[in-house]
Symmetry: C2
Subunit: 472 residues, 2 copies
């Protein structure tokens, strides 16, 4: 029994402005329209025809993650382990291992993978997983080591020890090296990149972790106990009080570097951690002047320029070695060699209290999305899209009234005491103080324009009376 | 009698995406909120306390130009000479000279200036104009020569001849030179930049032009004759048939290089033709790393970067010598040394038939502006702003219905047979086929959101029944 465990925690600040705190890297869509998380789910589902997996993510990403899974493969079921905040990989994997141990027994094998990596060669990946599973069933903690192709300073390295069946024992873990050291490691021929993919039995993992970091196992058990027996279902929302006791520590430090049962499988399946815009740009084919574009653009007398635009026209003239990433409310222009430094922008925005580190102009909600088209001190205009069958909460605003105009699909509207059905090109008016609700009873996406008027237009002017997503 | 003549013809393609065919360089607003045309009107009005001037511009720019003038100085009157298309400066000045000759007599002095140049030192400019007017009243065709400060290749040069009172006779005009030639001209000490500012009597100008390019005078007279006596008023809209007969020729070629009555006044009043984004960027004070920003931005590890943003956040990381200009629907990233090449983008857009060479997301109309906030195949959302007292035409659409929601100010709405007054937060619905009209009866700007629905949403689905601006 092999259970994929999807670790969906990374903030991806180096991929701002597409990746933001409220909609981080795993949800970032590539040019084919699929998010990194969707691709990860697809990969997980195709490994040994899995129909069950575990996702560990922040509680804020639950609905969007679930939605990603259902878009990829509606037959695969996931248990969602929801963290109140991030505490690195060791606590996350411990919680997953406990859950799988209980449901599938100690010999169930976990395949732990990140939600925001990319793997090009699916067949080689499956072969590597099969090899890893063999070693795991023999009691090893198996890591995946990528054959290095360059002196990368952004990854940790694994030194191979003795031959161990289809892999090697691990002689040593090497932290992210400086450039010269990276060159030596590359030249040595027996060092691999640590891809952060792991494979082990639930029982072996927990008994080894008991030896090297017993407090993590204890806190994980406490987190689980607090849910109560009835709650240990497909959605486990851990209490912040107990979760806060976890140390912030990676599985490498907490266990792998201290255990003598660690093995490594050398791999070459086109792995990328999509760690920067440079890495993203390489996914697009370059023209003869090394320019790559996604979206509308005009490139004049330029070389080695990557342009990614959402819906605006981008013109580049006489420039080279640039990455230009455009989103509806924020733009990034960065030198191709400095894409690692994009996180400095996010740090500055956070320090300034600017919303753009956190929110996009389009905000995901359990029921769909809203997009702010325009706002001023006295009015705000939103496009609201509601999924078929979905429903916003029954709510009321003290300070704003709303005009609703349906432009596509059908809306069922509760407005005070009345309930009405609105088709395209029909409208209604919700005065401040009226209880109201918006539902999509149809099978098509509902698209509606909302014009808000009032003296205060903050999102926090909302009283919820009933909500299908537990937000009352 | 001195009459300023404002030549407002330049397309300003090097200042795309702010300058576009539908809203060209003279209307471009600088950081202080004033357009180049407004600044030019202000300068013209302050010269010898002028209260009358002549504007030569394209007929499409009439309302916006008039509006610019009224915002600067409501006492100054302008006659508008409206061209159906551009034919360079000689025909434009000939038409202005004819008009001024007829209304003010042959000794009236024209001060011809471009609508899209900048002059920093108003007092020195006035002094230079006074000196030029003296020479003009003696029968000279006076040019303004700027003391050069660099070997500029983008300007023509004027070689000074004999001393002539407060100026010099002109020995020779030199076309835009190559760089080495420009260095020689700068070193010579007796060459000045040709600023395209001229001063002469109406009578002298026309009799000299009769000698060097008589056909221009003949066609100008024919243009004027076709208007009819009654129409030679404050707005002269020339027929395209006759206007098309003008040769496309500058006043330099048609007259100044061929006349022996040409003088030059050496000037040093902080002149700039704002010919590129490089020139615009120099209007903003640089910080210690030579970065200059207008609008929201985060600049990290960068040097000599100019960022101008309308309403989006722009982040620059690890770049140098860049100009970044952001507008709601188009973005430009250009090397600081290549800003002259921005016109290549406009040429490509024009060849591609892309709207962005022509229109902004906000479109100026005689009654105010509209801004497209969002559009799809079935709906379009606009913010409409109507000036106090202004009125859209009485109109009808075959294929679209419209929801109107007032968010600020007061609207008087004709909707079929009814007339109603709408205040903020009130709305109405205009079904397809209904005659309707929108007016602002108040003293504040009217701001309204319009949601259009229908199978066809093109601007050409409009039947106008009555219009205050002659557009029926």
């Amino acid at each position: 029994m092999l259970v994929p465990v999807i670790m969906s925690g990374g903030a991806g600040t180096r991929l701002w402005p597409v990746s933001r705190e409220g909609y981080p890297k795993p949800f970032m869509k590539l040019a084919d329209g699929q998010s990194l998380l969707m691709k990860t789910y697809q990969r997980a589902a195709s490994v040994m025809s899995t129909d069950y997996l575990v996702t560990v993510t922040n509680r804020d990403y639950f609905f969007e993650s679930k939605d990603n899974l259902s878009q990829v493969n509606s037959k695969v079921q996931s248990t969602f382990l929801l963290e109140p905040f991030g505490r690195n990989t060791a606590p996350a994997i411990a919680l997953a291992a406990l859950d799988i141990l209980e449901k599938q027994g100690p010999e169930a094998i976990l395949l732990v993978m990140s939600a925001d990596h990319l793997i090009k060669d699916g067949q080689r990946f499956e072969d590597a997983v099969a090899a890893a599973a063999t070693l795991a069933s023999q009691g090893y903690l198996v890591t995946f080591g990528i054959t290095p192709t360059a002196p990368e300073t952004g990854f940790g390295y694994i030194e191979c020890g003795d031959v161990l069946g289809v892999g090697y024992s691990v002689a040593r873990f090497v932290e992210k090296p400086a450039f010269e050291k990276a060159q030596q490691l590359l030249a040595s021929g027996n060092h691999l990149w640590n891809a952060g993919i792991f494979c082990f039995q639930a029982g072996t993992f927990l008994s080894e972790l008991e030896k090297t970091a017993p407090e993590i196992v204890t806190i994980a058990q406490a987190c689980r106990a607090q849910l109560g027996d009835g709650a240990v279902t497909s959605m486990q929302d851990y209490s912040a009080d107990i979760f806060a006791k976890f140390p912030d520590i990676s599985i490498d430090y907490a266990l792998l570097e201290r255990s003598d049962k660690v093995a490594v499988i050398p791999c070459d399946f086109g792995w990328s951690d999509i760690g920067s815009w440079q890495a993203v740009s390489e996914l697009t084919v370059a023209d003869e002047t090394l320019n790559r574009t996604v979206g509308q653009s005009v490139i004049v007398d330029s070389r080695n320029v990557y342009v990614q635009s959402h819906d605006r026209l981008v013109a580049a003239v006489g420039v080279q070695d640039l990455v230009i990433v455009d989103t509806p409310d924020a733009l990034l222009v960065v030198h191709a060699d400095k894409t690692q430094d994009v996180r400095k922008v996010v740090a500055q925005l956070k320090a300034l209290g600017h919303d753009a580190f956190k929110l996009h102009r389009t905000v995901a909600r359990p029921w769909g999305t809203y997009t702010i088209l325009e706002e001023s001190s006295r009015f705000k205009i939103k496009r609201i899209e509601v999924k078929p069958g979905a429903s916003l909460s029954l709510q009321m605003h003290h300070h704003r009234s709303e005009h609703w105009i349906v432009v596509s699909g059908t809306a069922q509207v509760t407005n005070g005491d009345k309930t009405l059905l609105l088709g395209a090109n029909e409208s209604t008016y919700i005065p401040a103080g009226n209880r109201h609700r918006l539902e999509n009873p149809g099978v098509l996406q509902l698209i509606m324009i909302e014009v808000q008027s009032g003296e205060y237009l903050g999102e926090d002017d909302i009283v919820r009376f009933q909500d299908n997503y537990g937000r009352c």
